[in-house]
Amino acid sequence: DARVTQTPRDKVTEMGQEVTMRCQPILGHNTVFWYRQTMMQGLELLAYFRNRAPLDDSGMPKDRFSAEMPDATLATLKIQPSEPRDSAVYFCASGRGGVNTEAFFGQGTRLTVV
């Protein structure tokens, strides 16, 4: 049963701490997306990769966020230092093709920064 796996499912951290969220895309998918969902802003596309190369990260605050794909089986989203306003659910999705590919979502990481 192929699925996108995200870890951790829940994370509570103190302001100023580094947070790393991980995503294992579906095997064979070459496009990976990071989304953020908050009550205030709704759903936002933060970044996406194709063939491990970052194609667009314009939705991501550059000063504290970074997204990488060290290999085809792992995508990471880091926040350093974290702030309370970063509290959100972060979704990873993977697919085949470009930004408009059918994307399969992970269950999300619920981040709470206190």
Binding site: G42, L43, D56, V99, E102, F105, Q107
Partner: protein
């Protein structure tokens, strides 16, 4: 940037009823998609539909790009259709903008 407006914001249906959800765009439609988020938070990509009509089971979608809108039809609704439906479009430069969603509740 592009503005995406969804209507209605909330909808309650009796099981078995049909419904139409609408998505309006402030600019030309490029690469429209529809998503469903179930009550447990799981997101599912429903349709990629930049123009024309597509059907998948009880769901179908139509995009009229020249008129800057898209419609999602749900026929014979079921309780499992409950959740929030989002539309999104890529407004150039690969910038994806989401609507605020339509929250659907299907009651037995």
């Amino acid at each position: 940037g592009i503005q995406v407006e969804q209507s209605p914001p909330d909808l309650i249906l009796q099981e078995g009823a049909n419904s139409t959800l609408r998505c309006n765009f402030s600019d030309s439609v490029n690469n429209l998609q529809w998503f469903h988020q179930n009550p447990w938070g799981q997101l599912i990509n429903l349709f990629y539909i930049p123009s024309g009509t597509k059907q998948n089971g009880r769901l179908s979608a139509t995009t009229v790009a020249t008129e800057r809108y898209s419609l999602l039809y749900i026929s014979s609704s079921q309780t499992t259709d409950s959740g929030v439906y989002f539309c999104a479009d890529e407004g150039g430069y690969q910038k994806v903008t989401f609507g605020t969603g339509t929250k659907l509740q299907v009651i037995p």
